[in-house]
């Protein structure tokens, strides 16, 4: 799967309160959450983001709360993937579980500028900055997470397992 879009750049330690402030968590409706995506980091973000665009950030992206509303809001806002130096642990797992592609690529995260046109090969983790022509390799995804992706998310993965056990 090839993901391609213009990039939005954020700094380090972008926390889940910046991604989706708790004041909007009295709902879990993805479309509602998308309206406030990244609002406390950049109030105009929900207005300006377009489908397919890519977030590029520094270290520890998604630190703070375990709220799955954070990757849900980003996905529902139309962001195709996130490239960061590192991700916070719970956010990392959540993003995979809900099917939001994320890539750890410190050099790419450092060098890509806001507004660059970037393409990512989700299978190989190869990131191409079409604006500068430079390519990068993202850190490989652990095998079991690849299996989760192959099943189409954690719930499908578990459902497959449960059904197998029932028919045994």
């Amino acid at each position: 799967m090839e993901l391609q879009g213009r990039t939005w750049k954020f700094g380090s330690d972008v926390d889940t309160d910046a991604i989706i402030p708790a004041r909007y968590l009295n709902t879990s409706d993805p479309a509602e959450l998308a309206k406030h995506c990244m609002e406390d980091a950049d109030p105009a973000f929900p207005e300006k983001v377009k489908p397919g665009e890519i977030i590029v950030a520094g270290k520890n992206f998604g630190c703070g709360s375990s709220r799955e509303h954070a990757p849900i809001a980003i996905k529902a806002a139309g962001i195709s993937c996130i490239i960061a130096k590192t991700f916070a642990r719970i956010f990392y797992r959540n993003a995979f579980n809900i099917g939001l592609p994320i890539f750890e690529a410190p050099e790419a995260a450092e060098e890509i500028n806001e507004g660059d046109e970037v393409a990512v090969d989700a299978g190989t983790g190869i990131i191409t900055n079409k604006t500068t022509g430079k390519t990068y390799q993202a850190t490989p995804v652990p095998l079991f997470m690849q299996q989760i992706i192959a099943s189409g998310g954690l719930i499908n993965y578990v459902a497959e397992r449960v059904n197998k056990e029932c028919t045994k």
């Binding site: 309160d17 375990s66 916070a88 719970i90 079991f144 578990v158």
Partner: protein
């Protein structure tokens, strides 16, 4: 093969003799939890799996603590979903308002989690129970839904970092200061994906409350879990309280750590973490002259008896500064009642403070004490991110209950010694 306490608990729950850092395991969980924000998403995902029941109705609990007592209609609907699910699946533990508490104060108090347990919760501060010698960690709602169905979860065995604390605590210094100091030293991603093991003579003398506070904030350094080896202090707390058998694990003396930090606590003063990251900690005296509008004492970090007693000690016979509103949130109904019995509630009210029923309330900018643009709060909570307690241009300063109480009295960030 020598192992750390975290590795031993994980090995045991994966049915293995040994585990090593980096290894992926499928582990049995002893207890799982979610709250009124994360449970609705977990319930939705759980129902997609197509199982008839949760893995064990005594070991799943959904605590309505974030936007409760319901702050608006949407919150009420989320809480109702939690209640209906709990009924429908016959969950043994459901905590209605009036019997409820903040999840991470409530579960240890009610003996639902104990030493040696493996607990996952759809709340990042699930790591709190490491204070009892459990492995506990926060996950998202989908991970939780899978665990609710299977009673198992996938985990990567974390590398461990050892933090050794020696020396005598200075007056008014508690677990909160040790953890703020530590995060200030290593940074908000200083323990990313790793286990933080707190050891040393100063930890051995630390109360259960302070240990829970320290492990509560392990996530604030990016850690997977925080943990303190259980001992006689732990035993005194869990005996007669824990509803399930528990097990004490200790790290082997020759267990391996990726890093070891050593701190002399006698050099650590009461800390304040200035906006907007918990790593911005410094001695309270170095915070400068910061006038404040609000003081919040409570939360899953510092809403326990020890915390309320310390605050009351300073507030007794004093008044909250005329420019400040002080709100106090006991962690659970039992803590509330005990504080009432000890006369602490009267001290808070006489001082001009507002005492609330247990709730997360202002800690996450939910309700019951939201900050306006430009307002500043001193809070005993665990996060001072942008917009955490209200307007994106408000500010939160993190501190222990003694600093919070002193600041409430003086109307600015103050050291406890200034009002003693």
């Amino acid at each position: 093969m020598p192992m750390t306490i975290t590795e031993k608990i994980l090995a045991n729950h994966a049915g293995k003799e040994h585990v090593v850092p980096g290894e992926l395991i499928n582990a049995r969980v002893d207890f799982v939890l979610a709250n009124d924000i994360t449970a609705p998403v977990a319930i939705r995902e759980f129902e997609k799996i197509g199982v008839a029941d949760v893995f064990d109705r005594e070991r799943v609990t959904l605590v309505p603590d974030h936007f409760t007592p319901n702050k608006d209609i949407k919150s009420a609907e989320q809480a109702l979903l939690v209640k209906n699910f709990s009924r429908q699946y016959g969950l043994t533990n459901y905590f209605e308002i009036g019997r409820m508490g903040i999840e991470h104060c409530l579960l240890p108090e009610q003996g639902l989690v104990g030493p040696g347990d493996l607990v996952i919760g759809a709340d990042s501060h699930t790591c709190t129970y490491g204070g009892l010698g459990a492995f506990s960690t926060g996950v998202g709602s989908t991970d939780l839904a899978a665990a609710m169905a299977l009673g198992e979860t996938w985990l990567k065995v974390p590398e461990s970092i050892k933090f050794e604390f020696t020396g005598e605590l200075q007056p008014w210094v508690s677990g909160k200061d040790l953890i703020l100091y530590t995060i200030g030293d290593i940074g908000v991603d200083g323990a990313l994906y790793r286990s933080m093991e707190f050891t040393g003579p100063a930890i051995e003398n630390l109360s259960i409350e302070s240990r829970l506070t320290m492990c509560n904030m392990a996530i604030e350094a990016g850690a997977k879990n925080g943990i303190v080896a259980p001992d006689a202090i732990t035993r005194a707390y869990v005996e007669g309280r824990c509803k399930r058998p528990y097990q004490f694990y200790q790290s082997d003396p020759d267990a391996s750590y990726v890093k070891v930090y050593q701190y002399d606590v006698s050099k650590i003063e009461p800390q304040v973490a200035i906006p907007h990251l918990p790593e911005n900690s410094r001695p309270v005296g170095a915070a400068g002259n910061v006038e404040i509008d609000q003081v919040v004492i409570g939360s899953c970090t510092n809403g326990r008896m020890e915390d309320l007693r310390v605050a009351a000690k300073l507030l007794q016979g004093k008044k909250v500064h005329k420019n400040v509103r002080m709100v106090i949130f006991p962690g659970t109904q039992e803590i509330y009642l005990q504080a009432l019995r000890e006369g602490l509630i009267e001290i808070f009210v006489m001082a001009g403070g507002a005492v609330s029923t247990p709730t997360c309330g202002p800690c996450l900018g939910g309700h019951m004490g939201i900050l306006a643009k430009g307002e500043r709060a001193v809070a005993t909570t665990n996060r001072n991110f942008v917009g955490r307690m209200g307007h994106p241009e408000s500010e939160v300063y993190l501190a222990n209950p003694a600093v919070a109480a002193a600041s409430a009295i003086l109307g600015r960030i103050a050291a406890p010694g200034e009002v003693e």
